[in-house]
């Protein structure tokens, strides 16, 4: 057990993966000498050599396409995309090749790629550096999509992702890179299992990645008002662990779903639709979504308005409870 930042917890997970399996190779822009712009791969090239930790030319399609070729040869490539907004030049290789090759070849060719994507906002960045593109990939059959919220999960899940024989889009909540937490290298759970981050009885607050800490804060604030919120950290977005989600919603009868990505067609849509389908007669109110607006990620000085925060989450909690809003005095 040691206390690590989420970034270092990922780094230690990558180190373990590199040490445990010599077919693991890391590929990305600036991941070598520099250790990545978020220093996740810091020191790994020095330790494992340029053959295992490869700085790549500046072309995302090229990087992912080359990783596909390495996977054909039996490697397990771990690709770092520098920022969320730079994944799109590689979209075709991901959607048309990585996602489909196993099915295309009747299971003959495995694509055990892990594609690491620092994502989300809240870091005061310029355009293309704060996006949440997870829904594109969750909608793409053949991919698994996961995201971590704590250093422990970061460490455990990156190792799970690399060990998985399917391609995994691994979304890292960049504004939580410097969050610290205990990390036990031996801790494990099944890939795809959701986590009840806080138990509660009145409302289920369903989230993942960067908003998990915010949701927990909201739960604390609500408890001061006598509202008991259960916070579920999904961890996996494809597949979704509906067993855990259903159990929570059946208990509370009310659900608020929150993420940074644009609301329209985001993960919240799928979650709300599936929950309604599975728990219709248990629902006291329609699932509420608290998400980014349907706009390009705004300039930094406006991002606090874009990002779901404690107030907007509690506002939605009040709405599913049919309560006058405790903060704004505003009724649904």
């Amino acid at each position: 057990m040691s206390e690590l930042t989420l970034s270092k917890a990922l780094g230690s997970g990558l180190r373990r993966a590199l040490a445990d399996d010599d077919r693991v190779v890391l590929m990305g822009e600036d991941i070598g000498t520099l250790g990545g712009v978020f220093r996740v791969t810091d020191g790994l090239q020095a330790e494992f050599g340029t053959d295992r930790v490869m700085d790549m030319p500046l072309a995302e399609s090229g990087i992912i396409g080359m990783a596909v070729g390495l996977a054909f040869r039996g490697f397990r490539p771990v690709v770092e995309i520098q920022f969320d907004g730079f994944i799109y030049p590689g979209f075709d290789q991901i959607v048309a090749q990585v996602a489909k090759l196993h099915a295309r070849t009747g299971g003959k060719v495995r694509m055990p790629l892990t594609i690491r994507v620092p994502y989300g906002g809240g870091i005061g960045a310029v355009e293309h550096h704060s996006e949440s593109p997870e829904a594109y990939f969750a909608h793409t059959a053949g991919l698994r999509v996961v995201t971590c919220a704590t250093p422990q999960d970061a460490h455990t899940m990156i190792r799970q992702a690399i060990a998985c024989d399917d391609p995994v889009l691994f979304f890292e909540p960049k504004r939580r890179y410097w969050t610290k937490g205990e990390v036990d290298e031996g801790y494990d759970f099944p890939l795809g299992k959701a986590r009840v981050a806080r138990e509660g009885t009145d409302v289920t607050l369903l989230t993942y990645g960067p908003l998990v800490p915010t949701a927990l804060d909201a739960a604390v604030a609500a408890s001061d008002e006598g509202i008991s919120i259960e916070v579920v950290d999904l961890r996996s977005l494809s597949p979704v662990d509906y067993e855990t989600v259903e159990a929570s919603v059946r208990k509370t009868g009310r659900v608020v779903i929150t993420h940074e990505a644009a609301e329209f067609g985001g993960m919240g849509a799928e979650l709300a639709a599936a929950i309604t389908d599975r728990c219709f007669f248990h629902l006291e109110a329609a699932p509420e979504r608290v998400a980014g607006f349907d706009i390009p990620y705004p300039p930094a000085r406006l991002e606090e308005h874009f990002l779901p925060d404690l107030d907007r989450m509690l506002d939605a909690v009040d709405r599913v409870l049919g309560r006058t809003n405790s903060l704004t005095g505003w009724t649904a």
Binding site: M56, G62, M66, G69, R73, A96, Q97, G106, G142, E243
Partner: protein, 360 residues
Amino acid sequence: MSTTLTARTTLDPVQLIDPHGVRQGDEHYDPLVADITDARLTALYEDMVIVRRIDTEATALQRQGELGLWPPLLGQEAAQVGSARALRADDFVFSSYRENGVAYCRVVELVDLARAWRGTAASGWDPFSVNMATPAVIIGAQTLHATGYAVGCVKDGVDSVSVAYFGDGATSQGDVNEAMVFAASFHAPVVFFCQNNQWAISEPVGLQAVRPIADRAPGFGIPSVRVDGNDVLAVTAVTREAVERARSGGGPSFIEAVTYRMGPHTTSDDPTRYVDPLQREEWAGRDPLARLEAYLGLSESEQQRIAARADEAAHKFRTACTSLVDPEPLSLFDHVYATPHSGLARQRSRYAAYLEGFES
């Protein structure tokens, strides 16, 4: 060497047997094919005859409704056979959809050539059983896969190489250019084999490239050569050179095989809308098989033997193709993931129940 190649590039393509079947001496390339006796050349000719015969059969099968679509290789037999026969079994091929001649040489089962086009499977064969990936339909994507695979060979300390096949149209795609960047940067043992068949569906090569295609590679640091793609011997020679360069640590190479798509783009295409019949006729005079016939002067009985083998292959192909059966409905859900996926498992069981509903 790279200078020699570059010089050839823009000027006359490498040619060892001309359209009239006359052997052209070439100081540089002759030694590379010194072992190719007339007997071996006859074997290459036989390959080409068989490949063409299967291709014709496939077109017929499509016309008869047995295949959904077929992309004919008519005219490109020498480019495909000549290059594929220059490879070792442990080399790995990443191709596009038209490389049925290459697949034949990789010993892909004939029936496997038909599966995707008949619609009974997404692709035809186990890539690892023949060391050839199933076709990439997204233009150019496979060139990056070949580059990655080649880098993997180096990592593994083996001297296998990879070959990427693609068309003239593909050279416009970002991926193909990125593949050259990455291959040069990692000194990857990969051969880029471009069949310039003059067309990307209806678009003439001039729309994709204002200079000879082979001229592009040297700027990326990749030696290139332009070869008469209808001359099986010349294609063998330049491919051997490139493969040998890759195998011996010399890095990537680029080959432009200048050829012509004598048929439609696919059986759905109507080339009369855009092909100048005079141009096509000119290229008919450069047929890859005809020139070998002239050069080899095969006896009638030898010709008949080969034709019989080709007919046999075509027959086998037809029988296997038409007896391919439709997959089970629930196989829809197979192999999407290598490991269990709860969402898909649920969808599968619901659909199974739905189908059962019809039965009861």
